[in-house]
Symmetry: D2
Subunit: 239 residues, 4 copies
């Protein structure tokens, strides 16, 4: 399985708080722990040529992880469109935290993907509501994060096909923080935590969920349908 971790990688260059937490960048941290399970984990960032997402790179990627926040608009439309097409063809996609507002996710959802938010160092508790789902393997009843950014409902997404985590926030809000979607032959997992000024991606429980998500979105040789004009499979008597 070829995994590619994509990161905007701007906060890391501009904010010492962030680069202190993630000296290798958020992409480096994520690629680091995914490397424990997978041989082929690469990274790509916004400021690389074609954002590091050439046709060749996309064609050989099985699972793409996306983190972006302040520079969604700097992602070229045609590249966002190519990524979307690869998802429809079967590439798995894990969308993290503020990537809810990425061009790729919004194109796949068809909605604004807007939400409430607040940076107030508050506690988040992610409750498992689907205890059958492989993405919850090894998780307890909930995951607690001492300090995170708040994301609150209403989260303007289509009804998730599977709702896995619900978050409680100290300030009074709730959020559908782990959700899956199917688009074409591709599977999408949105997972909320991961504001850049907190060490969330160093948390072993969060790493476990992302690892599970990578396995779950990976397509396993499911059918490729043929579209367009089709000959009848049975005789049409009424003709």
């Amino acid at each position: 399985m070829n995994v590619l971790v994509w990161n905007e990688n701007r906060h890391e260059k501009e904010n010492k708080v962030v680069s202190d937490i993630y000296p290798e960048g958020i992409h480096g941290a994520i690629a680091g722990f995914l490397g424990e399970d997978h041989e082929n984990v690469k990274t790509a960032t916004l400021d690389e040529e074609e954002h590091g997402l050439t046709d060749e790179v996309l064609a050989e990627t099985d699972v793409l992880i996306w983190w972006g926040h302040k520079a969604h608009e700097d992602v070229k439309d045609e590249i966002a469109e190519k990524v979307k097409q690869r998802v429809l063809e079967g590439m798995g996609l894990v969308v993290l935290h503020s990537a809810h507002f990425s061009k790729v996710f919004k194109k796949l959802m068809g909605t604004t993907c807007d939400l409430k938010w607040r940076e107030a160092d508050e506690k988040e508790r992610l409750w498992v509501v689907d205890p059958t789902h492989p993405i919850t393997e090894g998780v307890g009843e909930y995951i607690e994060l001492e300090k995170e950014e708040m994301y609150g409902e209403h989260f303007d997404i289509p009804t998730p096909e599977e709702l896995i985590f619900l978050s409680w926030f100290e300030g009074g809000e709730v959020f559908r923080s782990g959700a899956t979607f199917r688009r074409g032959r591709g599977k999408v997992f949105y997972f909320r935590p991961g504001h850049e000024t907190y060490p969330t991606y160093h948390n072993k429980e969060i790493q476990n969920v992302i690892k599970n998500g990578v396995k779950w979105v990976n397509n396993t040789n499911t059918p490729k349908h043929v579209y367009g004009n089709a000959q009848p499979l049975e005789e049409i008597s009424t003709k």
Copy 2:
């Protein structure tokens, strides 16, 4: 309730078979039977200025019905985008037949919306699979259409939130032919039948389903959420 029936209205101008079946256009036929239930039913067509979909018209429309086929590309991107935005704000949308490939529907779905198709004068039988849904009010176990175009799976849409009709086709295919989706505050109903060379929209059973669909997609004063930065509703002790 203000209902607007939008039609491409090109086949009617170019093909006598179609104009013989629909002398007032497909939009005229649909507006005709909807007028039996609703006072304010208007029509708009592709070749009108701004496709008949000015900001004023869209702002006062509660439910929009969309039929298009051969000229999807002639719909301006900015107008398709405006229609999508109005759906997200709460305007109901009924998408008929070949409008599966309309810009508006594809933007809302996030997928290719592709399918198999065949014009072979074959029989379609639409089975009700959700006998709780108000869209099936007054319907029997199934609706039979003597001759229709075939649409076959795989239909490349997100998993419908409600699956209401499944079609059987004489040539050997099946199709999810009545399905609903939620996007933002708006409800969407896709209903398959209605190829332009058949008198499908004169069929009373089909008219009944479209009438039910119009009622169902109409938004009834549901909440308008506020997005963006939010003050806490509870004291945050960890700060």
Copy 3:
């Protein structure tokens, strides 16, 4: 529409706190506000003959509301089974609060319907997560209840077909507190609030949701399917 409000009506007889809040019983309070919208609202209680649920009563009931808590086991199996059958035939069902553990609801769900709970006079905030749903008509972004019993995840129900409200609790839990299910021709709405020692059913916002729920679960002449051995509708050539 014939509405029947069923109540266990035991706390009201045994606990002055409850009878002070609900001098006409919880059933009386609910029938009272439903009577503002509907002409035919009746009540029935556990200690009546056949629990007030004779075949005649059930046959003429379009929507049944169920409240029970401490005496679920006193409901006779055959009557719970009859109620379930009427739901499958098309009777709407609104299940309130502790009726999550009623025989009727457990039979319809197929799961334990278990949950976490706590009586601690804590705040509940019900967030709307489906702003398209008619059950949210007239509701704001959320409903706040100053004091309620806590119900927390995991709520052991099948995945709801529609998830409408999510609750935040002061003590750190979340709950899927407004959810719908379809069973046979019948629609079911579960709505969490309503512990007997709080005046929740006197709250206008809660009354509004229950009124919306009653309208929504009411079946509107949808198809009655025929089951069993069936003659072919098409010629079978392979025979």
Copy 4:
């Protein structure tokens, strides 16, 4: 993974047509091909003591496959209940063909599970409608069975959480023939084909789907929730 194939095993004893097709019984045939992938595949049948489903056997079973047809009523209620409880605890369940009417499946669904049926040696074509689902691994666009019993809509089940296959039948019906459900910690896969007088379980494509189903329903160490009275995780200030 411990797999148990349960079969009624009555047709095999009474009908030479069936025993000629399945000399080892339907259970033997299924256990045979599952044995290609799994080391621990056992069988159990109705006429064994406790139907071969003792507490010990159930406790160590990870995935149970169920085939029954004419003797559903001979399955003891308490054993059906035990099987249901094990599913809620996390045991995977694959329900085949006429087991739609088994006590276990009906208890888990909460509906009649009724349907239309016909034995007329007709063609069935199972179309894949979810090309992301692992259960479709290695499947083409559809699977064709030359002769099968017909099952037609309406299939009286709760809305499936995932709809994977839709069947077309020569006689004019359609059917939701591959569907999944979650109950408690357990996953359930219903798969339609397999009438006893046809060699369906010798078909490699059908075997592949059942193998995929077994893998998919197997629980992989997901959370075990605690239910009942719960201490607050946060301070309750309003008390």
